[in-house]
Amino acid sequence: MLRFAGGEVRAFEELYRRHELRVWRYLQRNLGNRAISDELTQDVWFAVARAASGYRPSARFTTWLLTLAHNRLVDAFRAARHHERPAGAAGSDPLSLIEQLAGDSRAEPPERAQSQQHAAALLAAIGQLPPEQRQAFLLHAEGELTLEEVARVTNTNFETAKSRLRYARSKLRQLLQEYA
């Protein structure tokens, strides 16, 4: 960021490539819609570029970046006037992923095919979590944030973030057992 603030565009491109999937997946697994995820991802990185001149490294860049993404996610939910994932997108993406993984798995050895099915089932189960629990789980698992950082990004306290993460894990285990 500091190099980009100094005018080095290549530093920004490097930064983008490093964090591109982290941001996009956080948005996409929450929204279940690629088009909206692309749009919000673009918004997030535009904001990063604009804020570069005044950026002060007071916290981890990942935390700040996911805070920007989370705020846009909340805005998108608020604009849609509901906190659930968009019904069509939520049903289509995980299923298509499962189908895609299952289709690919037909040519794979049985152990690997089973692993891919389990992965698809896990991603599908994440889509069924309540929004706050899903956000807490994704920030922790996808964003690799600590609980303190999860609490900061979601503007809650540590105990709330910890509780949400615990409920999310519990719910996922339950869903995966049902799937199995």
Partner: protein, 333 residues
């Protein structure tokens, strides 16, 4: 406050499974997003560079710029003038007071006494006084000389005092009040009370007020009642201004000082202990220019002093014809 535990942040088996599944997920954001973000970043970087160049061109002047020093010097000069102006406007009474003191000494030293004025004989020094002798009633003690508020509150001698005292009063109005202060209080001293004790009573605000004629006329040994003294002080303050700077300045012929005092807002009708206005004093001196300036400031030609004299009467009695004409035209505009 939280009870964070290292295990809380530890990636459990479910998290590891998610990360593996996510890594295997082939979905990616579209290339269009990447292109637009990079293009925007280049635009922002260019704008930042242009802004940086512009801000460098508008940089503030450094301390070694010559123009900065000129501005600072000009600011100091302006501030100094403003301070002088503020001091002049907000402390108008201190100027004449200081100048009066200087003027008093100058008049006493160099100016010949005006008509009707007599010089007080020099005070015997401490060395001239025999040892053990009590200080004379009118003696100026060291304490009274050192007490500026006593000088300010020093009452003028009563009009009914003798000629010698009156002449002393006239001079002392120019030469300073301590003599009068000590003298007036000593006159009020009760039998057996030394001049020093009476002088010490100056610290009492009631004892320190100018003594009005009726209070001074009380028989020796009988102190005026407190209320009477207060009434006398009030009436004295309203009409008599001991050491009135305007009267002193008019009596010394200092037209510049009179002009300055009048501009500062001082009342042109201020009188000395004998009820004489500045115009009357100027008339007694035969000072036409001074009288013209005072009349222009609104001085009354028919103001009566304690002896019943007026500037017009005094001019007719002893003044030059030009002054008489001036005062007559002022009396009958």
């Amino acid at each position: 406050m939280n009870d964070a535990h290292p295990d809380d942040d530890r990636a459990d088996e479910l998290t590891e499974r998610y990360r593996a599944a996510s890594a295997a997920d082939p979905t990616r954001p579209s290339q269009a997003v990447r292109d637009s973000v990079f293009a925007y970043a280049r635009t922002v970087a260019t704008a930042h560079a242009a802004r940086g160049t512009a801000s460098a061109a508008r940089r503030r002047r450094t301390a070694n710029d010559f123009a900065w020093r000129i501005s600072a010097a000009a600011s100091v000069v302006v501030a100094g003038f403003a301070t002088l102006l503020a001091w002049h406007l907000h402390a108008p009474t201190r100027v004449p007071e200081q100048e009066t003191s200087q003027l008093s000494s100058q008049v006493a030293a160099h100016s010949p006494p005006a008509a009707g004025f007599a010089v007080e004989p020099p005070e015997p020094s401490q060395a001239d006084r025999p040892e053990g002798a009590a200080p004379a009633p009118n003696a100026v003690t060291t304490r009274s000389r050192q007490r500026p508020d006593a000088r300010a509150k020093a009452p003028a001698a009563a009009p009914d005092q003798g000629p010698g005292t009156q002449s002393g009063t006239a001079v002392s109005s120019l030469q300073g009040a301590p003599r009068l202060a000590a003298g007036a209080v000593s006159e009020n001293a009760t039998p057996g009370e030394s001049a020093l004790d009476a002088d010490r009573r100056l610290e009492n605000p009631i004892a320190g007020v100018p003594v009005a004629p009726q209070a001074a006329a009380a028989p020796p040994g009988v102190q005026a009642p407190r209320a009477q003294a207060l009434d006398a002080a009030a009436s004295a303050r309203s009409s008599v201004t001991p050491n009135s700077p305007l009267v002193v300045a008019a009596g010394s012929g200092n037209l510049e000082l009179v002009d300055q005092l009048l501009r500062s807002g001082i009342s042109v009708e201020q009188t000395d202990a004998r009820g004489r206005t500045a115009l009357l004093v100027a008339t007694l001196r035969g000072d036409v220019n001074m009288a013209r300036r005072l009349l222009a400031a609104g001085a009354r030609a028919d103001a009566v002093d304690a002896a019943g004299d007026t500037p017009l009467a005094a001019a007719r009695r002893q003044g030059p014809p030009e002054l008489v004409q001036l005062l007559e035209s002022a009396s009958h505009p």
